[in-house]
């Protein structure tokens, strides 16, 4: 009876996860239900972890055109949950463009709750039509780490942003009794990629991506993310100025003699990697959330970069455990 596969709920595509803080101070999985094509697995015993790990999977490893997945997550006061995937979330072709594949996630975070969503990127195939909506409602002092990234498709098959439409929308709300409406939208990050060009002068979708093969957004908020958020802002501020002359090349020999402090050495390596892989990124503090945007020609370069940043900073692993980073670990 102790199956690792939780019971299925009744409505197609619906899933529900509830995580609660147990009296002994660890987070426990209170409820976990799902229905085809959604599949949720929580492989690690909650009593052993500071945060509950749930795998977000789908039968067949992807969403077939027209699939609807609707996941609700409740992380109760003081509890923590991290959600990961196993490989890219593939989105298969829709038979016709009006058949929309929908993936919806609605997450409620109670006071002092923590939620970390660091999945593999979504890989929409040629001809797919997909809208993903993720809504996060944070009570005071709740913490969120959210990564949403999407790739150009199957490069091996020559796909290059060949889908019909991709919409990725992430909303971060603050919920509190003292707000006029009880809640307030803090950040609505939406990416709309549509191959229909309304005018012939506009570049095609692949051209408008300017050679980028993966684009991603990381949103951080709350006390658990304070350190990692400040880290991204500081690293962004420390980026070498574009167009500045690099006088250091003369001092290369001298630099070899005096070893850099660890963080600067790591940064120098990372900057070299960013340059070689043509990765571009920016970070900003927007209404109390740190929003990081990045893009790179190669998906793995994007993964290596975000993984390197999060692993090096270290607080995500500290608050949620190493498993939280398994989808973004540098290869």
């Amino acid at each position: 009876m102790n199956s690792p596969f939780p019971k299925s709920s009744s409505t197609p595509g619906e899933g529900h996860v509830v995580v609660r803080l147990r009296p002994e101070g660890v987070s426990g999985l209170e409820a976990c239900s799902y229905q085809y094509p959604l599949k949720l697995i929580s492989p690690i015993r909650a009593s052993e972890t500071k945060s509950v790990l749930v795998f977000l999977l789908s039968y067949g490893g992807g969403l077939v055109g027209g699939d609807k997945v609707n996941l609700r997550i409740d992380v109760q006061t003081g509890a923590r949950l991290h959600l990961v995937t196993q490989g890219h979330t593939k989105v298969f072709k829709s038979a016709t463009p009006d058949i929309v594949t929908r993936q919806t996630m609605h997450v409620d975070l109670a006071p002092n709750a923590g939620f970390c969503l660091l999945p593999d990127p979504v890989q929409p195939y040629e001809g797919s039509v997909c809208e993903q909506t993720q809504i996060f409602k944070l009570a005071r002092n709740a913490s969120l780490c959210l990564l949403d990234w999407v790739t150009r498709g199957r490069t091996a098959l020559g796909e290059n942003w060949s889908f019909v439409r991709w919409v990725g929308r992430n909303e971060v709300w603050t919920v509190a009794d003292d707000l006029p409406a009880g809640e307030r939208l803090l950040v609505r990050d939406a990416v709309i990629l549509d191959r229909t060009q309304c005018h012939r002068q506009l570049p095609t979708l692949p051209d408008s991506m300017h050679g980028v093969g993966v684009i991603g957004t990381l949103v951080l908020r709350g006390p658990l993310m304070k350190s990692v958020g400040e880290f991204f802002l500081a690293e962004f501020a420390a980026l070498p100025r574009l167009g500045a002359r690099d006088w250091r090349s003369d001092d290369a020999n001298q630099a070899a003699d005096t070893p850099l402090p660890p963080r600067e050495e790591w940064r120098a390596d990372r900057l070299r990697m960013e340059k070689e892989s043509a990765l571009l990124w920016s970070a900003a503090n927007v209404r109390g959330c740190v929003v990081v945007k990045f893009g790179a020609p190669a998906v793995e370069a994007g993964r290596d970069w975000i993984g390197s940043m999060l692993v090096h900073e270290g607080s995500i692993a500290q608050h949620f455990g190493d498993h939280a980073l398994m989808c973004v670990k540098p290869t």
């Binding site: 991506m209 962004f236 571009l280 503090n285 927007v286």
Partner: protein, 353 residues
């Protein structure tokens, strides 16, 4: 035509000269036709007596108050400070120098600006135009269900503030929005109020903007003194409440798009006109930035502005966003966020964005 030279280059030149000549001829003919027509229309004192046919006598049509304001709002001299912002053009050009992303092979080797302009316009429309349209609709149709136009405007402004997730873009939008609100309060409100003061709706709209300005002042004075986005240039000069929600963002930020929609509605501009002026303003700012960045000269700039291509493009993106609810506004050129956001890391800058 012009084939008296065998050289291809000369031939091209001659063709160009020829084209210009034809253009000049057309312009001249058109001018003469217009002159002739205006003569025909002009009533002669003998054929028409003002006393016997008072209604037939039309003095040269004076522009309506709305078209008067249309000219003002589309004037580059409108002190919005738009010239300070390049909407990512400067950063884009800097990023192109050693191309970080090799240009896609399918892309013809267009000059950088010709690539940037349509992308920028499309991206600007998809992120901000729904807010212009929504604000205009709110302030134009004073349905009973729009009971609190000020609250609706504040809500649109707040939603826009949540949607623009790039510091540099936010800075540009807020600086211009506040400038427009200042122009409205100090320069337009009195006149617009007199002209359109007939309907209760116009009065309500005016009151809404007044209330909105009050909210802004309240927000500026109550939030920390460093939250004035126009001034700073660091990445964290917006709202420093990165402490788990201890501090909320100010009630209103005064972004350009919703205020532009509201002001245009109040001075009587139509919805389509408003959208057109808003986007043309973006193109004008880009073209002017290109001139200042040395991309091309003033004649090429005017040629770009005058081109049917720009006109069609603006019309096409307006049609695309006509029905888009503000909740579905979003970025359709993700690399634009990278270019605009990375304006911060340019070594030398002539623009604020």
């Amino acid at each position: 035509m012009g084939a008296n030279s065998p050289e291809a280059i000369r031939l091209d030149d001659n063709d160009k000269d020829n084209d210009e000549e034809i253009e000049a001829q057309i312009a001249d003919l058109e001018r003469r036709v217009a002159e002739a027509k205006s003569k025909r229309r002009q009533p002669t004192p003998t054929s028409q007596s003002a006393s016997t046919h008072p209604t037939l006598f039309h003095p040269p049509t004076a522009p309506t108050p709305a078209s008067h304001f249309l000219l003002l709002l589309s004037d580059s001299a409108l002190p919005l400070g738009s010239f300070a912002f390049s909407s990512g053009l400067e950063s884009y050009l800097a990023h192109q120098k050693p191309p970080p992303f090799p240009p896609p092979p399918s892309l013809p080797p267009l000059p950088a600006f010709a690539t940037f302009l349509p992308l920028s316009l499309s991206s600007h429309a998809s992120t901000t135009l729904p807010f212009v349209l929504a604000a205009h609709r709110t302030h134009h149709h004073h349905h009973p269900n729009t009971r609190h136009p000020a609250a609706r405007l504040a809500a649109l402004d707040d939603a826009q503030d949540a949607t623009l997730v790039c510091t540099v873009g936010r800075r540009a939008s807020i600086a211009q929005g506040r400038a427009l609100l200042g122009i409205w309060e100090r320069s337009f409100a009195a006149e617009a109020g007199m002209r359109s003061g007939t309907g209760a709706g116009a009065g309500a709209g005016q009151a809404a903007l007044r209330e909105f300005a009050g909210l802004l002042r309240g927000a500026s004075s109550s939030s920390s003194s460093s939250s004035r986005p126009g001034g700073g240039r660091g990445g964290d000069d917006d709202d420093d409440d990165d402490d788990g929600g201890g501090g909320d963002p100010p009630a209103v930020a005064a972004h350009l798009a919703p205020l532009f929609g509201a002001v245009c509605a109040l001075v009587g501009l139509g919805l389509e006109q408003t959208a057109y002026v808003f986007l043309l303003g973006h193109v004008k700012a880009l073209v002017s930035a290109a001139v200042r960045a040395g991309v091309f000269g003033p004649y090429q700039a005017q040629k770009t502005l005058a081109s049917g291509g720009v006109r069609e493009l603006i019309a096409a993106v307006i049609a695309r966003e006509w029905e888009t609810p503000v909740e579905e506004a979003g970025q359709n050129v993700p690399v634009m966020d990278l270019w605009v956001g990375r304006h911060e890391v340019l070594y030398s800058r002539i623009f604020n964005s």
